[in-house]
Every structure is written in structure tokens, then in C-alpha cells.
């Protein structure tokens, strides 16, 4: 085995991580192509959504849900940890922001800051327990915490509004050095959209930086083989916990934005919505950070258009999802970046 003494010790972890990532590329669950190009793609997607989706709230929602799903994919796609409770930080981030706006201040900065940080802390606590086990047990534990969170949200009626939801969240204001913007999703959706897009792009950049960083690479190495990563001297639990916290914080941010968009935080079954965001990740593609955005757009489009034509639209979503898992496990992103080019190459070669 590798001698972990002296100068070799410094190189060994990096080499090990690099080799793990190389192995991952070889087996097909590679990290994304065009890592930084995804940022450009996101800008294009945002513009596309801005100009084609007729319902402004839906358009903004696509960005928000996309961000939420991208955060989850840090856990699922990059970390190999399937969380069935990722609606919890989203919902509670919404409550945090909503309550701040209702009772403390209408400053969007403060509301979003509180939402993000509080969910980071909560995720640290929850992650510490959930990550003691892996694979299926981890998933079951996240589900249990989601149910616990649902129960508390339902019962703590005086704070959350319980089943009726948190209503009357005032419109927030965003103070920039040179001007103050009022973020009213209904009366001025364009401003809200642009602010959301900027926040989403900045967060997305941070997520990419994380996945490309040494810790991000170790995370992927852990996904391939936890034992080997630990054997190389990494504190695997810490890396996973940090990822869990980041995913939770991003979800909290997204939830806060959503609360500000609707001026309302509704109560829904947590396990069901956790499933929905998972569907977005899988449909869009778990091998990249941009994939989940595609998944979010796709899911919300399906939901809003299909539901006009048929009451059984969830049947079709389920069917598409099953087909996706069976035939296109790399999702829409994988389809576009791997499968189609391969097909094109094959036909070109055939000529």
C-alpha cells in the first residue's frame, strides 16, 4: 500500500482523489462536461424561461426550484447520498424568511441571510445524526426527520400557521448601495426575476467552485468508495457533513426566495415534496449541477401544462420518471451530452 510518510504523504491524497475521479470518468458516472460552461448555459436557460414562460410566477419558480434541486444534487449526484427529506430545509427556510419579514424587518438581505444560515445550522445537526449510517439507512433517516419537521410545522400553529400556512408575509425590499428595490412578485415580476436570477447564478457559481475544490473531489471519491477514501486519510464523515450543510443552506435560500415570491408559506406533505425535488434531479441529470435546473423546468412545465388537459397528469410524470430511471439514468443532461452525441458519432461513422 502507499507509504504515507514524508513528502509522499502530501501527494498521495491528491493523487488518490484524482485517480478516483478518473475512475469515475471511466465508469460513466463522470463529473460534468464543460463545468464552467454550465454557468453560461444557466444564463441562457434563465433568458429562455424569461421570454417564453407566460406565467411570471412560474418562471421565477423554475429558477428557485432549480437552485433547490441543484443543492440536492450535491448530495445525490456528487455525494451518492439520496436524501428523502430535502423539502425540510426548503420549507423551514421559507418559514424563517417569512417570519423575519413579518415580525422583524422587511429587508430581503436579512430575511434571506437568516433563512440560509438557520438551515445550515439545522442541517449540521440533522446531518450529524443521519450520516452515521449510509445508503438506504441514511435515506430512511432523512425521511424520518422530514416527517418530524412536518409534524412540528403542523403543530406549532401559532408560529407557522399550521395547516393554513403562514399568510400575510409582507413584500420585502432589497437595499443596494445605489437604490432600493421593492420585491413584489405580483406587481413587478421582472425585477423579482432578475434579482432571483442573480442570486441563483452567484450560488450556482459557489456550488461549482465547491465541486471543483479539493473537498468536492474528495466527496466524489467517497461516492465511489468510502473505504478507500478513508484509507487515504480523509475524514469522510466531515466531508459528507459539509456537503449536507451546503445542500441544506442552498435549500433554505431557495425556500426563503419562494416565501418572498408568494408572500405565503404553505404546508404540504414533506415526504411528497422531497420526492418531487428528487424527481427533478433524476429527470434533469444527476451527473452535473446544471442538470437539476433542466429537471426543474421540465417538471414544472409538465405540471402546469398537463394539469390543464388531464386530471391524471401525475400518472404521466410517474411514467416519464420510470422510463427515465430505466432507460436514461443520466437524465436529460446525460441524454443531451452523452447519448445523443454518441448516436450522432455512430451515424457519422457509418457513412
Amino acid at each position: 500500500m502507499t507509504d504515507l510518510s514524508g513528502t509522499e504523504a502530501k501527494d498521495a491524497p491528491v493523487a488518490a482523489a484524482a485517480s478516483a475521479v478518473t475512475l469515475a470518468r471511466a465508469t460513466g458516472s463522470a463529473p460534468a462536461r464543460w463545468t464552467w460552461g454550465q454557468l453560461g448555459l444557466l444564463v441562457v436557460l434563465a433568458a429562455f424561461v424569461l421570454f417564453t414562460v407566460p406565467n411570471p410566477s412560474l418562471a421565477i419558480g423554475m429558477l428557485i426550484f432549480g437552485l433547490w434541486a441543484a443543492g440536492l444534487n450535491l448530495l445525490v449526484g456528487y455525494g451518492g447520498l439520496v436524501s428523502f427529506g430535502h423539502y425540510l430545509p426548503f420549507a423551514w427556510g421559507g418559514y424563517a424568511a417569512g417570519l423575519v419579514l413579518k415580525h422583524v424587518t422587511t429587508s430581503a438581505w436579512v430575511a434571506l441571510f437568516v433563512a440560509t444560515v438557520s438551515m445550515a445550522v439545522l442541517s449540521a445537526l440533522i446531518g450529524a445524526i443521519c450520516l452515521r449510517r449510509t445508503e438506504v439507512y441514511f435515506s430512511m433517516l432523512t425521511l424520518a426527520f422530514a416527517q418530524l419537521g412536518f409534524f412540528i410545522a403542523l403543530q406549532w400553529n401559532s408560529v407557522t400557521g399550521g395547516d393554513d400556512g403562514l399568510a400575510g408575509v409582507p413584500v420585502s425590499t432589497l437595499e443596494l448601495g445605489f437604490t432600493t428595490l421593492e420585491l413584489n412578485g405580483l406587481r413587478d415580476p421582472l425585477t423579482f426575476f432578475i434579482v432571483t436570477a442573480v442570486i441563483v447564478l452567484l450560488t450556482f457559481t459557489a456550488l461549482i467552485l465547491f465541486t471543483e475544490s479539493p473537498m468536492g473531489r474528495v466527496l466524489q471519491a467517497i461516492r465511489e468508495s468510502e473505504e478507500r477514501a478513508r484509507g487515504c486519510g480523509y475524514n469522510t464523515r466531515l466531508v459528507q457533513l459539509v456537503t449536507f450543510v451546503i445542500a441544506g443552506a442552498v435549500a433554505g435560500l431557495a425556500g426563503g426566495l419562494f416565501a418572498m415570491l408568494n408572500n405565503f408559506v404553505g404546508l404540504q406533505p414533506y415526504w411528497l415534496l422531497s420526492g418531487v425535488v428528487l424527481i427533478m434531479v433524476i429527470l434533469g441529470g444527476r451527473s452535473s449541477l446544471f442538470g437539476p435546473f433542466l429537471g426543474a423546468v421540465l417538471y414544472l412545465l409538465l405540471e402546469s401544462t398537463l394539469s390543464r388537459y388531464t386530471d391524471s397528469w401525475q400518472f404521466f410524470v410517474g411514467a416519464i420518471f420510470v422510463v427515465c430511471v430505466l432507460l436514461f439514468p443520466q437524465g436529460l443532461w446525460g441524454l443531451l451530452t452523452t447519448t445523443l452525441p454518441r448516436l450522432l458519432r455512430r451515424t457519422r461513422r457509418a457513412r
Binding site: P56, G61, A167
Partner: protein, 419 residues
Amino acid sequence: MRAKAGLLAGVTLLVAACGGTVAGGGGGGEGGGGSTEPLKVGVITGLTGAYVQLGEEQRNGAELAVQLLGGKAGDRPIELIVRDDQLKPDVALREAQALVQEEQVDFLTGCVSAATTLAVNQVASQAGVPYLGTCQTEQLNRPPNFDEAITYHLAPTPSQGINSAAPFICENMGQQVFLLLPDYAFGYEQEAAYTTAIPEQSGCSVAGTAYFPLGTTDFNPFIPTIEGSGATALVYGGVGRDQVSFLRQADQFGLTDRIPTFLTLEDLSFDQELGSELIDGTFAMAAFWWNVDDPGVQEYVEAYREEYGTPPGGYGVYLYNALNLIASAVEEGNDTPEDFRSWMEGREVTLGQGDMTIRECDHQALAPIYILEGLAADETESRGGDAEFGLREVVETVPGSEETAPTCDEVKEEFQRVG
């Protein structure tokens, strides 16, 4: 590089084709405008999900009203836009946003569950569009939800019904009343109302209260508690599915034979699912029953029955009333939210629920409450008036008045849970 250029070209084409949408849309529909412009009314109700029949009834009630009005309010054609909220507040919110931003509706109405009504009201308030809420809740009339510019409540508050029913329960059913209530806002509202109204009846008291979790279908664990409390009457505050589960299980234990049971919420569709066997001997209260001897009610019932083949349950009438109110107001030229408000405040009408007044202080509709007795299978024709649908008989009618409603001072405060 080529891919990027292609994408950019595509985006430009789309921009040219569709024009700015987020940029263009936005803002609410403020008032009507021209005298022959369509009057757009948005209806958001639960067309999928657990209570499909109630949502469909609301749609039917709305469509029937429009049809009977000849599709017009004065010179303006009525355009009814019906959307599904799946009983989820988030979806209701989204649909309300779409109706306000894309369709630019002049009025909003409809809802099956309290949570969705508050969500839609939220959007209506932000956009300045009048909203006529159609499901039972205490909270629509109060802060932080009530917006005096646009909020109206056509369904009774739970306290209206309970204040009307308490005398009947105490005089005819039993004086030690046990409350079995669902563990969410609607249950808390019931508790507040029952624990106030019941002790006001002489000799009557609440023997105990128990909450069951939302969505529960296993009521067996509660039955020993109910029996052990020494109650001589039982109030069950659940709705629909859990009502079915509860009555079956209580029947299996023989509970409903020993302790007369009162249902806070009733609807013809639930009664049909339960069947005479289970509702026989139970009592219920409702804001509407099809077999009531009142000309306004019968006009609605006959039209509904002719159009849809069955008598209406309790949820469609609110929409029928809403559309009629909107149409009358607009016909008289009140198509801005401010004019609509002055027209509505204090308005007295005779519509699908019979005589009704819209109170000024909180825009609450004051209409009759009926106490209904469940009938055995062989009584449906004789006492119920119809072999198939005569599942209940009206045994008492309490007219709508200020006496049973919360006072104008009370509704100035946010609803507080008891205890």
C-alpha cells in the same frame, strides 16, 4: 462555439415571436373597463385530490349560474375560467397568480379547503382583485388575512354554525358533550366555538375533548376514551374520508347506538358514501340542504337537478351565489373593486341559500343554518323526500343573523386557539 451561437439565435427568435412575457405580464386586473368587454371570473377549486366531488360541484354551481344568467352580466359577456388547486395551497397560489397575471381576471372565487382560500385571498389582496371566499373558516374575516378592499366570505364561519347548533345538541341529544376534533386549524376553530357555545346552554357542558391527527383513518384508539368520559352526546368534527372511517369504526363498536353523534360538517356526497346504515340516527348541521322548503333554494335545486341529474350538495351553492352577486353588481355598473365593495356591504338578497345578508363590517354572509337528521333506508322516501337522495331531513332551521355570527369587534382580532 457553434452551439452557443445557435442557442443565441434561437433565443432571439423566441423573443421576437413571443415578446416579453415576464416583462409584459404582471400587475393585477384592475376593474372592468368598457361596457362590452368580457367579465372574467376566475374560479379556483379542488378538481383533483381527496374531495373531487366538492370541487366539481362548485364548478357546476358556477357554470349553472352563468348559464341561467344567459352568459351575460348586463351587456358584458361572462367568461368563467376554472382552475384546479389540487387542494394544495401552493398550487392554489400559483393558479391565482396565473389568473391574475395572465388572464387578468376581474373577480376571484371558489375554494374547498380553508388553507387554499387563505392562499388565494393573499394573491387577490396583493393584486387588488375582489375575492369571494367559499369555504368555512374563521380566519378569512380576520387579520392578517382580511382585506376590507377585496375580501368577502360567502360560506359561514364555523362559529356561526356551531352557535346555531349548540341549543339543539343540548336540548335533544345530550348534556355532556364530547368533542372529537381534527388536529388542524378547522378543528381548533371548532373547539373555540363549541367550548364557548355549549356551556352557554343551561345544564350543558363539554365532557372532554380529543384531537385526532390529520389524515388518520384509525379511530379505534379514541373509542375507549369517549366511552370513559361519560358523555351523552358526541360531536365529530372531521370531514369526508375520516368521517367515513370514524362512523364505520364507531358503528363496529356500537358506539353510535349508545351515544348520539353530531357531525359538524356534512355534505350529500359524504352521506352517499356512508350510506343510510351509518348515518341513521346521526345529526349534522349544514349551510345548505337540497330538500328545504324555500323558493330561492328550490329554484337553484331544480335548475341544478335538471342540468346535472342529481340534487346539489352543499358546496355548489356558494359559487352559484357568488356568480349571481357579481353579475348583479356589474350589471348595475359596479365593476371596480371600490364600487363592488359599496354595493356588497349590507346587501340583502334571495339566492340559492334563500334570504341572505352580506354584513358590512367583515363582508360575512349571514344565511340560514339547518340541523339535519340522518334517516334509515326505509325512511328516505317518506321523510327525506326522495328514495335515493333523501338521506337526511331538516329538523330545525336557524335563520342567519348577527346573533350567531362572531361580533364585529371579535373579528378585528386574529383568531386565537383555546388553551
